[in-house]
Symmetry: C2
Subunit: 352 residues, 2 copies
């Protein structure tokens, strides 16, 4: 077993007792940090940072140099898989991600090539290895992927959408074609996450950002089923330790009962559901990660501290809480506000 100086995060994910509540923040390596913006400007583009293992490693470590976070997360994007499949990923400032060649027909989907993540996304595995070395066992490293449904929404629409009407039309009208696509993506995500684990990721998170846009039955059939299939195919032990899986379907607090049955170790919860209620849905079968409203980081230290306390109190006693926001940190947050959050989580949850 590789030695790990701070394993609080891993212990909380396995619902073991911890001395305090561990904390990391979605998008902790990102635009709210001036040192990130500088490196991003020098690199020329977001993808130039992602595809350069040296720079991806540096960006991953930036927040850890400022704040005593309990985990690092690989700096990358959820859309690397469709990019490797040939869709041509672009990022336009202010517009978000888009694909040059979105999926427009059943034959586009049939012709979608399988990928070998080791060969087709070597820059990701190289970054994971570099980050693990640089971390030197300080805290665990999280790898991640988008969920099949979330990848499919972008691949079909070609860009972000308010309603995901094309992607939904596919599942409503041509469920067989949708299942073909989601099956291919589930295979790719499984291989991709396993490659990250082999390269050194100690935890993996599946981001199902748009699961909450689906009706209940379709969420089950077209999103959760494929995440279960991925979890079933993942390497669950590596370096002598369990590799926990975190599943985050945003806007799906009321679906946590089914999520807890997926085989995941932990579920992300957004801020719209009180953690105590989320726990009651899961019956404490899994750990929970969340769930402060990211907008609270735009207020002031006193307010941030008050809401950290409320979030800890909402989870209540017992193991299995990983503190996080209910969604990614926004670019307009002053870094000192995040310092205040991390300090408050540690202090109020009993870190000596």
């Amino acid at each position: 077993m590789t030695s790990l100086i701070n394993d609080t995060f891993l212990r909380a994910l396995s619902r073991q007792q911890t001395d305090y509540t561990p904390v990391w923040i979605m998008r902790q390596a990102g635009r709210y940090l001036p040192e990130y913006r500088q490196l991003r400007a020098e690199a020329g583009s977001f993808m130039a940072l992602c595809t350069n293992p040296e720079l991806a490693c540096e960006v991953t470590l930036q927040p850890l140099k400022r704040f005593p976070l309990d985990a690092a997360i690989l700096f990358s994007d959820i859309l690397t898989i469709p990019d490797a499949m040939g869709l041509g990923l672009n990022f336009t400032t202010g517009e978000g991600p888009s694909f040059e060649r979105p999926l427009r027909s059943a034959s586009d989907i049939k012709n979608l090539p399988a990928i070998d993540p080791e060969d087709d996304l070597p820059y990701v595995m190289a970054a994971v290895k570099k980050i693990r070395l640089a971390l030197a066992g300080e805290v665990p490293l999280i790898g991640f992927s988008g969920s099949p449904w979330t990848l499919a929404t972008y691949m079909i629409e070609g860009s972000s959408s308010k309603t995901w009407a094309r992607a939904k039309a596919l599942i409503f009208e041509q469920p067989d074609v949708a299942h073909l696509l989601l099956g291919k993506l589930a295979d790719a995500v499984t291989d991709y996450l396993n490659a990250q684990i082999r390269a050194g990721a100690q935890v993996v998170q599946i981001f199902d950002t748009w699961g909450g846009a689906l009706p209940w039955a379709e969420y089950q059939e077209f999103s959760l089923t494929y995440m279960q299939r991925i979890i079933d195919g993942l390497i669950r032990e590596n370096e002598g330790r369990r590799v926990p899986v975190i599943l985050f379907s945003k806007g799906c607090g009321h679906r946590l009962g089914a999520i807890a049955d997926s085989g995941c170790d932990a579920a992300g919860v957004d801020w719209t559901m009180r953690l105590a209620e989320a726990r009651s849905f899961c019956g404490d079968r899994i750990a929970l990660q969340g769930n402060m409203d990211p907008a609270i980081l735009l207020t002031n230290p006193e307010t941030i501290r008050r809401y950290v306390k409320q979030t800890l109190d909402d989870f209540g006693a017992g193991p299995g809480h990983v503190f996080n926001l209910g969604h990614g940190i926004t670019p307009d947050v002053p870094p000192k506000h995040l310092a205040c959050l991390v300090a408050a989580v540690h202090e109020l949850s009993g870190k000596g």
Copy 2:
């Protein structure tokens, strides 16, 4: 009592037995209809339609001429109250609503004038009266307003927002100032809806479009409380009949237990929660309105019919279901698809 030819909608809202499931559609008078687009082009702007009682009446009736809907809804906008308070409402094509003078400080909020809806929004009451006359008792007329929290989000941000960070900062940092604003808005909405009822609205709906963006405790304190206060102040009987109140907090399916305690007669449900589950939250204390995914209307007649059946089956036996979408109909829906939906609801629920 004014005679009403088709009172199925009113009966369903009171959880009385009906011969079939009544149906109306949020935004049924709107851009998906070519005759609406023509009138809108002739009028020059959206607000020109809203503020002209003659045109507002014509637009309200357009969908009823095409489809055997079980209710009419006043054609207006949720932002008429802040406009009457002096914020200066504009609609830019593709950009949505915006205010010339958004609320930027506590003193802006303190100085916000009270309004008298009869004097300050006379065009709304004139439209209600005209529509009632034109309907000649065919189906009931729904009046409506935005909820205090939803109005506040637009008034503080100045326009639509993805995160409502300014509006949330106010409730997180200056709850007293937020309560002052929400109290003023609750008074205005109460007077506004009562004026609509006196003018002839037979049902009222409160649209809490952004209630779902709030954390649980804040939803309760800053949105639901004020809707309860409005409901407590409403005229509940007029023309010898009960005036039912429908409360629609989008994205709040898991909060339906609390919503059912607000004093409303019915709650709107979006498509992310199965109606059977929604019923279990409410314990059948109130009627439910919803909840098909609007994206299904972009598919084809066969698929639409299948999902109509699923929605009816999800609600199950017993009274208290009003069929609707889970959100407004989108501008790209072919009108014949809505015809298909309305026919399927009526036929599959037993209309002779």
